[in-house]
């Protein structure tokens, strides 16, 4: 069964990818697995859709890529750049603000 990338995920993949790459350099499959694992499969999307985001981030010079052969596999590894680190802190701050706001609303409903 095919999966697609819902539009409401716009912006979220960028934050997730940057956060994961802030830890270490990773290739596409690793990033997807990390997202699935760490979010407990909260997001359902076609895994191929990670690559347009990676290419976009690379074009924006937030990440860089390099080819490396590992166990006979020629993989594309992505690394966070200083601009990406700065962008990550901006996105994190923004996300925290939004999440806090949503939390207040949800908390108010439950009160």
């Amino acid at each position: 069964m095919s999966k697609s990338n819902p539009s409401f995920l716009n912006g979220v993949p960028e934050l997730l990818v940057l956060q994961l790459l802030a830890r270490r350099e990773m290739y596409g499959y690793e990033i997807v697995r990390a997202i699935q694992t760490e979010t407990r499969e909260a997001f359902a999307f076609g895994e191929g859709c990670i690559y347009p985001y990676l290419h976009y981030l690379e074009k924006e010079r937030l990440v860089s890529s390099r080819r490396q052969t590992v166990d006979g596999r020629n993989r594309n590894y992505y690394t966070l750049l200083p601009r990406g680190r700065k962008r990550l802190s901006e996105l994190t701050e923004e996300w925290s603000r939004v999440a806090a706001g949503i939390g207040l609303v949800l908390g108010g409903q439950h009160a």
Partner: protein
Amino acid sequence: MRNSPVLTELEGRLQGTGFPVRRVREQVQELADHHEDLRLAALAEGLDERTAAARADAQLGAPEALAEHLAAAWRQASWCGRHPWVSFCLLPPLAFLTLWWLLSAGLTVLGFGLLLLRYGRSFTPADLLAAFARDPDSFAEFYTVVKGLTYLALALSVVGFCQVARRSGAGFRWAWAVCLICSAQGLFVQNALVAHRFTFGYGWPPNWICAIMPILLGCAWTTGQAWYQRRRYPASRLTKTGSAVRYTYPARLWPAPRWLTPTSLATLAALAGLIVYLGWSATENASREVRLRELHSQVWPAERAAVIDHLRAGQQGNTLFETTVDLQPFVNAPLQESLPPEVRVAGNTLAGLPAGRHIFAGVPFLITGRVQLFGGCLADCHQAFPTRVRHIPVARRCRNLHLLQGVALPCESTGASGAVIGRLVVHYADETETSLPLVMGEHLLNVWGPIFITGVRAERRFTTAPGTELAWVGTNPAIQLAQPENSLRLYRTTLNNPRPGNLITSVDYVSAVTEAAPFLVGLTAE
């Protein structure tokens, strides 16, 4: 070895949108790696080969969505991809104009450089236009090149922006937008090289060549791209060797090096075409030079001598039945005064025409000066000439009226052949009148022109209709300087009197106020 339907469809979709081939290969290879990881993970979970592959396909995502996301990311990576309306609708017409001016400037600099090398002195654009004005035949190739520049600039704009559309991921749709916009622009493009003026701009009637060319180029470009991708990058497939996986492409159908692309092929073809054209042009110029030398040294002198001999024969004969009319009271320009419209050219006069009573083309004329009429070519001339000279007295019955006349035009112009440029209005004693037309190309030609035939365009040849004959040829310092091979020409025009039994009291010499300015130097009644 197996095929992944997701990757195969993804590859087809990306290529179908006009995505750059190399980029397609990189994207598909990366996704093929991911697909293989998914498949291996599924196998590790204990799934069989077929199920594992199917699950990997599903996890990778729908190919149409993947293709759209990849294309969108690629478009976002370039300014043209982000702003397609500006890039492919607004910029191509501007690029065409800019390219045209750049190419023209380049050609101008090159041309003047070559002239400097050949003649050892610098020329100006005004010199070139003046030279064109004197001898347009010699500029046929130049005009072809000027027109070719328009086509070249348009073709470069179309192909260039189609390539940009492909490389930016905008796709074939925007490439066709470029073709249609350029076609609409080309429909109105006009350029012309006329005496003393070169024009380039928009106008009417439609320029169908420039309108159709972008469409044909678009068809050729689209077909060429599809053919190139199909032939050079046939359907790819996933292959596995040991632990390595690659999305490989079969061997190319021909061993083309990496530099052999449609762009490089088009460039090579253009260069080859240019070289062939330059070679052909050099050969043509050499053979024309040889022919011109032969014309100058042998053919034209012989033809000129034959004409002069014929004219001398016409200056003899029995002239008992003709009565010359004294035009002295109507002369408004002496023979020593410069001929229009080149009045500023020193020595452009009829001073060589002998004054007094002389026979020309078998008819006697009394020469006293020039009765000059107004014409459009005199608009810039400070001297005012009449459009009608009235009541030139004849006072006799006659069968024919003989006019010794010429017509002033810009020196390169032949005038519109068949156009009525003036009239001779005959007044009879019974107070009736009749109008006899003077027709360009039948009764007279430009006073400046050749008196030889070989190598001369039909409309510039000095031969005219029956009843009109070349009567006198001469020269002056101006024509010797500007067109040494040409001569001053006056014609004897014989007009039949439709009512020979009626007494003619007078005639009016009338201009039709066209570009041509006719003048009369002799009038005789027979």
